[in-house]
């Protein structure tokens, strides 16, 4: 409940929305899908700026990339033809594990990334496919990677307008572990690999819900470069991930358990990629 909201504004452009945000950041909240804002209990918030009319709810093919508006819902993204053409079942399956139908109809891509939720499966999946963010702020539009976006101090943070998905021919797999079917992930793991024949050219190993914000395990990725992908690879990744994991404990699980889960899920993800190519 936001007890002190006095204004609900529905700007029609991102510029307008940003100007409204800049007027008083402390007392303003941007509204996307509503699932996070509705749970806020802040009495500081006096203005809600609804982004629904800003036209950010489309997915379009651009040269060399796909741009998905920040207001695109998880279900919309999951069912989208362009996305299916580009990524096959990757998003359909992995987003299908998120929340439930009702929630997927509400939660948006931008709204999942912006609050910096550690457990967001969406963020992990998007990082896995190498998504970057198109943002609008005081420096006009710019493209940032997800990690860099959060380097900007929150007092100056721009508005995420689009998620930019590069055109590339990689292999992807995503696994999550949760205590029950409708629960946030205890840990999630996305792995992408670029292969030249069987040689691993490059990879992304993204671990989320650690319980901290998803991060790439760069040391693991480096160790994999130029390795030949074979039956041993999943096991190798498993032990690399086990050794390089950094995470924490909370009421859902201990750091030790997560460390273990991360290595197991990583192994399974690599196995799945292997199933595609081997």
């Amino acid at each position: 409940m936001l007890p002190n909201v006095k204004e609900f504004i529905r700007p029609e452009t991102v510029q307008e929305a940003y100007a409204l945000l800049e007027k008083n950041r402390k007392a303003t909240v941007l509204l996307a899908g509503g699932t996070i804002v509705s749970q806020m209990r802040s009495s500081n918030i006096e203005t809600i700026v609804d982004l629904r009319k800003t036209g950010l709810d489309k997915i379009v093919q651009k040269p060399d990339e796909i741009a998905a508006g920040a207001m695109v819902t998880a279900e919309q993204f999951r069912q989208d033809r362009l996305i299916a053409d580009r990524y096959g079942d990757f998003f359909y399956d992995s987003f299908g594990l998120i929340g439930n139908w009702q929630l997927r109809n509400m939660i948006t891509l931008g709204g999942s990334i912006a609050p910096r939720l550690g457990w967001s499966d969406i963020t992990t999946c998007l990082m896995t496919v190498g998504a970057s963010l198109l943002v609008y702020g005081q420096d006009d539009y710019q493209t940032l990677c997800i990690g860099d976006y959060f380097q900007i101090p929150s007092s100056e943070r721009p508005i995420i307008t689009h998620i930019i998905l590069p055109d590339e021919d990689w292999r992807y797999a995503f696994y999550r572990f949760a205590r029950s079917a409708f629960d946030i992930a205890t840990l999630n793991m996305g792995i992408a690999m670029k292969l030249n024949d069987r040689r691993i050219v490059s990879s992304r190993i993204v671990c989320g819900s650690r319980p901290m914000f998803p991060a790439r395990m760069e040391s693991v990725e480096e160790s994999l470069v130029d390795l030949n992908f074979d039956e041993q690879t999943p096991g190798i990744v498993r032990s690399l991930v086990y050794d390089n994991f950094s995470g924490g404990s909370n009421m859902i699980a201990s750091s030790e358990y997560r460390n273990h889960l991360a290595s197991v899920l990583a192994e399974r993800a690599v196995k799945k990629i292997g199933e595609i190519i081997l």
Binding site: V5, F8, S38, I45, D50, E75, Q102
Partner: protein, 156 residues
């Protein structure tokens, strides 16, 4: 602020507070089938269809429903006649305390609109958010299957 929403075909022009939730607005308008239970997007007792899609009204700001179409279980059936989904739920004993039922029926309606003949696993997947504490889900799964047969005309 004032919004215009269409609920079950009836247009309401209603004054709301800026941060009001659709759940509260609908209950205030008399749509008491929309139930508050967890109030944190975790149980789906407040599910309504917004422009045909099931959403959780406990986290939809009423202001964002301006100009849109809402469906609740009050809009189903006509007079004494139950909607086939309601009929199936009643017959299969899918409703015990009944608190989760209106939202489950609406989610089922949306499901059967996109998938008229769902498998058991599709039913479970698509309705996973609808928490029921009484029935243990088995009777509900039977009811959804029966409702799909009713709607397809496979069973009278």
């Amino acid at each position: 602020m004032k919004i215009t929403i269409n609920v079950n075909g009836k247009t309401h022009v209603v004054k709301i507070e800026s941060a009001e939730m659709l759940l509260d607005t609908l209950r205030r308008l008399g749509y008491k089938s929309v139930h508050r239970s967890c109030d944190s997007a975790s149980c789906s007792s407040c599910t309504v269809l917004l422009d045909g899609n099931p959403v959780l009204s406990c986290c939809v700001f009423s202001a964002t429903a301006d100009g849109r179409f809402v469906e609740t279980v009050e809009g189903l059936g006509s007079g004494e006649e139950l909607h086939p989904i309601q009929k199936a739920f009643l017959e299969e004993g899918a409703s015990q305390c009944g608190y989760c039922i209106p939202s489950l029926i609406m989610t089922t309606k949306a499901l059967l609109a996109v998938e008229p003949d769902p498998t058991e696993s599709e039913i479970r997947e698509m309705l996973v958010g609808n928490i029921c504490r009484c029935t243990g889900y088995e009777a509900q799964t039977r009811a959804v299957k029966k409702a799909s047969r009713y709607l397809r005309g496979d069973e009278e």
